[in-house]
Amino acid sequence: MITIDAAGMHYKELNRLIREGIGKGIKKFFLENVNGQYYIGDGIKGDDVVININGIPGNDLGVFMDGPTLIVNNNAQDNIGNTMNAGKILIKGDAGDVVGYGMRGGKIYILGNAGYRVGIHMKGYNEQLPIIIIGGEVGSFFAEYMAGGIIVLLGLNDSDEFDSEYFASGMHGGTIYLRKKIDFSKYSKDVELYETDENDMNFLKKYLIDYADSFNIPSEEIMGKPFYKIVPSSARPYAHLYTSA
């Protein structure tokens, strides 16, 4: 275990200390007074490495990460879990724009809201199944080009509003679960909405319980409402657009 006081520290130094620590076999990190440092967790490896972050981490948190767990006790900024391969990121507040861009594996749990461009080009591969669960709402351009994985939008504030334009446009893989029914037809022509069945809920249950436990919320509260799922109409949305010269 190691505590690093990040006050006034450049990201290069902070991340070097983390990489060095992991190299020495340290498993548990506490970062104090983090204030906007970029790239925390960039490209680090180790399934049993846990980094607790107090303060507000900067952009590209967990970019290219491959296994460790990052716990943010506040809000976080843009590009969380960018091109992440494996691991887990918990945000106990709100997240900025571009969550999980091109993410291939691992989990991102956000207690609050997330910004624009969440889950763009997320993709699954073999046993790698990226999962994003968001407690609140999301902005526009949600799940564009989504190619795989799971995104769950809980909308725990229970508002019936949904204000995300360009919803899942170009989606061609993966599944989005919503804890409220929206008239999605005005948002995207590339997807279809279904009611969830028992299989869906059995599959989701373990992740929802994991999410609830991570944030100390009663899981019954989350699962007390029906879920809907959105899947792409086609794995090849643009196949018929072209003709060969």
């Binding site: 490209g43 290219f64 763009i120 090849r236 018929h240 010269a245």
Partner: protein, 506 residues
């Protein structure tokens, strides 16, 4: 709408068989990836509509019995309404599709390289014979320090104190341009990897990830990160000598790419890390890069992930404001900027983009070099020029216009038998280059074509040495950005100004 099967488009070529010479060995049937030939019981039959003039059949016909000719049936000539335009209208009215094709534009724009002449020594300074004297082509790509700090050791010898930023060492100023596994076959990539290793240069994975078979070639590979992030993970970033962020491509500036699902077999799926059969869609922009500041963020995310040990390259298409764009890219922290001119190749792109978007590499290069010098940041990044470098002459002119090295793509494929038929998008390449059909890929022997690539680059390197010797310099370094050694012919004042060169005679 009811679909009509009748097409106005006639066969472009005729596959003519001399049945007196033909011994019915059926090699043409095997060799043609397009299904042009079939056996009609007693003789070979040809379906002309399928022929693309890729040249495979007659190259492998043991009797020389095949000739491919342009269909003499004319579409009435009209300089305004060309055959290509008329056919595209038919094609699009029959399908409703965006017309796509492979390779670079087929439009006849002015090729500036062909209007630039090189200097040579006469009397006032001696030329050098490269056969007898050393002629340095070694090139280092990467950021060069703006100052060097030197210490003296106890013997009074100078010792370099400054730490050099990471560099790619090339034995000759050529690299193989980015062509992904998916757009080309694994055997085509292997041929380039073998040649790159033998030559001491590098190839580029393109955006399709790094196949396991190429991992041992890491010292000769640049790995690419494009908007689809296919196969990108921390080990991938660390597996080559440099990482390239692909923003744009000369053949299709500003647009993304779709590798169709039918090309995503098990092996490509594993390399790209996406499911079998799904379209591999590269969004037009990187959705984490909407500004120069965002680009800086990704550049440094990669530097962090590679512990600052690898140069980061940024590839862009040559577009109108390229000088300002490259200045921004250099300030964002790129160690190498790869500029791809509008005649560059592609596995597939809409013709509307390929034929009408972008600017010539020659003009882009001259403007970029000039701008970076003016701003005092030319040393901050190396420049790679690409976009149909067709010969060592193009390469040497590009270097004199300001490039550190050039990249070749189409020329490398031509080595492998490519006849530039432009049908890469169909996946039927008879030469086993731009196809994933196993029976076609198998025929491209990486060893054979690796050696031919080696031969080509060696020959071009020798030619560059000849030119350098004639100009009286003994290092490619001395020619870099030396536009005084270039003169223009048949160019307007505006063109000469953009190129930063004088007219011949002046």
């Amino acid at each position: 709408m009811t679909k009509s099967s009748f097409s106005n488009i006639q066969s472009e070529y005729l596959a003519l068989i001399d049945h007196n010479k033909c011994v019915r060995c059926k090699r043409c049937i095997q060799n043609c990836g397009w299904g042009t030939y079939s056996f009609g019981g007693d003789k070979i039959l040809a379906d002309h509509s399928k022929c693309v003039a890729c040249g495979r059949c007659y190259t492998y016909c043991p009797e020389g019995a095949i000739s491919i000719v342009k269909n003499p049936t004319v579409i009435r000539e009209n300089a305004n309404w060309s055959e290509g335009l008329i056919k595209n209208i038919w094609r699009q009215s029959e399908t409703g599709g965006i017309v796509i094709s492979g390779m670079g534009t087929t439009f006849k724009y002015k090729k500036y390289f062909d209007h630039i002449l090189l200097d040579a020594c006469q009397v006032t300074n001696p030329s050098i014979d490269p056969l007898r004297e050393p002629m340095e082509l070694r090139t280092y790509l990467g950021k060069k320090p703006s100052r060097l700090d030197v210490d003296l050791d106890e013997n009074g010898e100078a010792v370099l104190k400054s730490k050099m930023p990471p560099q790619i060492e090339l034995q000759t100023p050529f690299i193989f341009g980015a062509m992904s596994y998916g757009s080309i076959s694994l055997n085509a990539q292997k041929a380039m990897a073998l040649a790159a290793r033998a030559l001491g240069i590098v190839m580029n994975t393109g955006e399709g990830g790094l196949h396991d078979d190429l991992v041992p070639f890491g010292k000769n590979i640049i790995v690419q990160v494009a908007s689809g992030r296919f196969g990108v993970h921390r080990d991938y970033l660390n597996s080559g000598v440099a990482v390239e962020i692909k923003i744009g491509q000369g053949a299709k500036p500003g647009i993304g790419g779709h590798l169709p699902g039918e090309k995503i077999g098990a092996d490509i799926s594993r390399t790209r890390m996406i499911p079998v059969g799904t379209d591999a869609i590269s969004p037009a922009p990187h959705h984490d890069i909407y500004s120069i500041e965002d680009l800086r963020q990704l550049i440094y995310a990669i530097k962090e992930a590679t512990d600052y040990e690898k140069p980061v390259s940024v590839k862009v298409a040559a577009v109108h404001n390229i000088a300002a764009i490259v200045s921004g890219i250099v300030r964002a922290g790129a160690d190498i900027v790869y500029i791809d001119g509008y005649t560059g190749g592609t596995g597939a792109a809409p013709n509307i983009i390929k034929d009408h978007v972008g600017i010539p590499i020659e003009l882009a290069l001259a403007q970029v070099d000039e701008r970076l010098r003016e701003e005092g940041i030319r040393n901050e990044a190396s420049i790679i020029a690409a976009g149909s470098i067709r010969s060592s002459a193009d390469a040497v002119k590009a270097i004199a216009l300001g490039a550190d090295a050039v990249a070749i793509g189409t020329a490398a494929l031509v080595v492998m038998g490519c006849h530039v038929c432009g049908k890469c998008n169909t996946g039927n390449c008879s030469w086993g280059i731009t196809t994933q059909r196993p029976e076609l890929v198998r025929r491209l022997d990486p060893e054979v074509y690796g050696e031919r690539l080696y031969n080509l680059i060696s020959a071009w390197s020798h030619e560059i040495q000849e030119v350098l010797g004639a100009m009286g310099v003994n290092s490619i370094e001395s020619l870099r950005g030396s536009r005084e050694r270039l003169r223009g012919v048949e160019l307007t004042d505006a063109e000469l100004k953009a190129l930063g060169i004088k007219h011949a005679g002046l």
